[in-house]
Amino acid sequence: MARKKVTLQWIANDSTRRATFKKRRKGLMKKASELATLCDVDACVVVYGDGESQPEVWPDDVAKAAQVLARFKAMPELDQCKKMMDMEGFLNQRIDKLREQLRKARRENHERETALLLHDAIAGRRPGLAGLSVEEIAGLGWMVENRLNGVKDAIERLQAATAGKGGQDVVLPDPATATTNLQLQLPQVSLLPLVPYSVDAPAEHGHAGVVHEAAAQPQAPSWLMEVAKAGGDLGALVYSGFGGGRGSFGGAGGTSVGVVADMLPHLGNLGAGFGWADPGLSPFPPI
C-alpha cells in the first residue's frame, strides 16, 4: 500500500494518535541526533505528550539537555528571541513559501499551454481560432508578437552575414531559394480562409483596393484618412525591411536597385488598400 499524504490536523482517534505520537517522536529525536552529529553543534528537543508530566528529551541524558537549555536561557533576551519561532510564525512562513511556488507554477503552465495553442494554430487545427476565450486569444497574440520579433531579428542577422559574402556566390541559388520560400508558405496561407491572398495578377489587387476605397470613403472620411495614413506607413515599413533583403540577394547591380525602387510605391499602395478593406468592415456591423 502506497503512502498517502497526511492531513495536517489533530488526530481524533486516541489509539491512532498515540501510535503516531510514538513513531514521530522517535523520528524527531533521530533527526535532532543527526543534525547535532553532522554539524557538530549543540541541539536539544523536548517533547511533552498530551497530558504527560514527564517529557521525552534529546539528548537522552537529562543533565546534558538541561545544560544546553541553560546555555540558551543564559543568552541575552534579544539573541534568544531573534531566531525564535512559534507555530503561527512557522506556518505563516510555510504558507508564504507555498504561495510563491504556486504563483511560479501557474505562470509556467500558462506559457506551456499558450505554446501548445500556438502550435495548434500553426498546424491548422484551429480554423479561425474558434472556441478560444478572450484570455487565451490575448496570450496567443502576445506570444505570436514575441516570436515574430525574434524571427525578424534572426533573419536580419542572417542577411547581415550574407551581405559580407561575394555577390557572385549568392546569385545562382536565388531561383531555388525563392521557389522553396513560396512552396513553404503556400500551405500555411491556404489554411487561413480569413485572409484573401493570391500571387498572380497584381493589377487585380490594385483594383480591389480601389473598389474598397470607393465603398468606404463616403461613410467616414476622417476615419478613412487616419487608416490610410497608418496603413501606408506600416506597408512602407514592412516593404522597406524586405527591400533590403532583396537587395542583398540581387548583389550590387544597378538594375536591381532600379527594380526595387520601381516596385516600392506599388506594393505600398497595395498594403494601404488592404488595410482599408479589413478594418472597414469591423466598426460598422449594426448599420
Binding site: 536539544c44 538541561a66 507555498l98 533573419i155 496561407v189 469591423s282 466598426p283
Partner: protein, 247 residues
C-alpha cells in the same frame, strides 16, 4: 570507508559523522534545521504535543521552535529537571493554550492545506501540458520543431517559413479579437449609444469602445494591420517570383 559512488548523482545515503568542510556543514545545518522544525511542528499538530527544539548554529547563534512557545516548554522542563523538595511531589499541571491561539493555528493549517492542494493541481496541469508537447515532438510536427528550435540556429528558409506561419496566426488572432469585439458591440443598449461616437472617432473609436466595455484585451497589432503585414510579405514573394508565380 566512503560508499562507492553510483553512476547517477541522485540521492545517496551519507555517513552520520562530522562534516569536514565549513561551507558544506553550514549548508547542511540550514537544511536540516528547517527539516527538524518542520517535523516538530507536524508532531505537535497531529498529536497535540508540546514541543520545543533549540539548536545552536556552527557560528554560535541560537535557533528555536516551540509550541505553544519555546519559553513555556523550556521553563517547564527546567523546573521539573531541577530536583527540589517542594516541586517533587506535585506534578506540573499541563497548561493548555488559549482558544484564540488554537483557532488561529487551525486557520493557518487550513490555508496551508488549501495552498498545497492548489499546488498539486498546478503540477498535474504541468504534466498534462508536457505530455501533449512530448507527443507532438514524437509525431515529428514541423510546427513544434519551429517552436522548440533556437532561432539563432535556424536557416534562412526556415526562418522565412516560420515568419509566414506566425503572420498567418497573427491575422487569425486579429480576426478572432475583432469578432469578439463585434459581439460585444452588439450587446446591450449601451453599445448602441456608443455607436455614433465610434463612427465619429474612426480608428480611435474602436479603442474607446474596448475601454467602454471593460474588455482588457490588447492584442497587438490592432485589427486589420495584420492583414497589411501579410500582404506586404505576399508582395515580396510576388516580387521575387514575378507575376507568373504558381497558384
Amino acid at each position: 570507508m566512503a560508499p562507492p559512488r553510483r553512476p547517477s548523482m541522485g540521492r545517496q545515503k551519507i555517513e552520520i559523522r562530522r562534516i569536514e568542510s565549513d561551507e558544506a556543514r553550514q549548508v547542511c545545518f540550514s537544511k536540516r534545521r528547517a527539516g527538524l522544525f518542520k517535523k516538530a511542528s507536524e508532531l505537535s499538530i497531529l498529536c497535540g504535543a508540546d514541543v520545543a527544539a533549540v539548536v545552536f548554529s556552527p557560528a554560535g547563534k541560537a535557533f528555536s521552535f516551540g509550541h505553544p512557545s519555546v519559553e513555556s516548554v523550556v521553563d517547564r522542563f527546567l523546573a521539573s529537571s531541577t530536583p527540589s523538595p517542594a516541586g517533587a511531589g506535585a506534578g506540573a499541571g499541563h497548561s493548555s493554550a488559549g482558544g484564540g491561539e488554537d483557532r488561529a493555528v487551525s486557520e493557518l493549517n487550513r490555508q496551508h492545506g488549501d495552498l498545497r492542494a492548489q499546488l498539486d493541481a498546478e503540477k498535474a496541469r504541468q504534466e498534462r501540458a508536457d505530455e501533449a508537447i512530448r507527443k507532438e515532438r514524437e509525431a515529428g510536427s514541423p510546427a513544434m520543431a519551429w517552436i522548440d528550435a533556437d532561432l539563432g540556429a535556424m536557416g534562412h528558409d526556415d526562418l522565412v517559413a516560420f515568419w509566414a506561419a506566425l503572420a498567418g496566426v497573427q491575422a487569425a488572432v486579429a480576426a478572432s479579437a475583432d469578432q469578439l469585439l463585434r459581439d460585444a458591440l452588439l450587446v446591450g443598449r449601451r453599445g448602441r449609444q456608443q455607436q455614433q461616437p465610434a463612427a465619429q472617432l474612426g480608428g480611435g473609436g474602436v479603442a474607446f469602445d474596448v475601454g467602454a466595455f471593460g474588455i482588457g484585451v490588447q492584442v497587438p497589432p490592432p485589427p486589420g494591420f495584420a492583414g497589411v503585414d501579410l500582404q506586404g510579405f505576399g508582395g515580396q514573394a510576388a516580387a521575387i517570383l514575378g507575376a507568373g508565380g504558381p497558384s
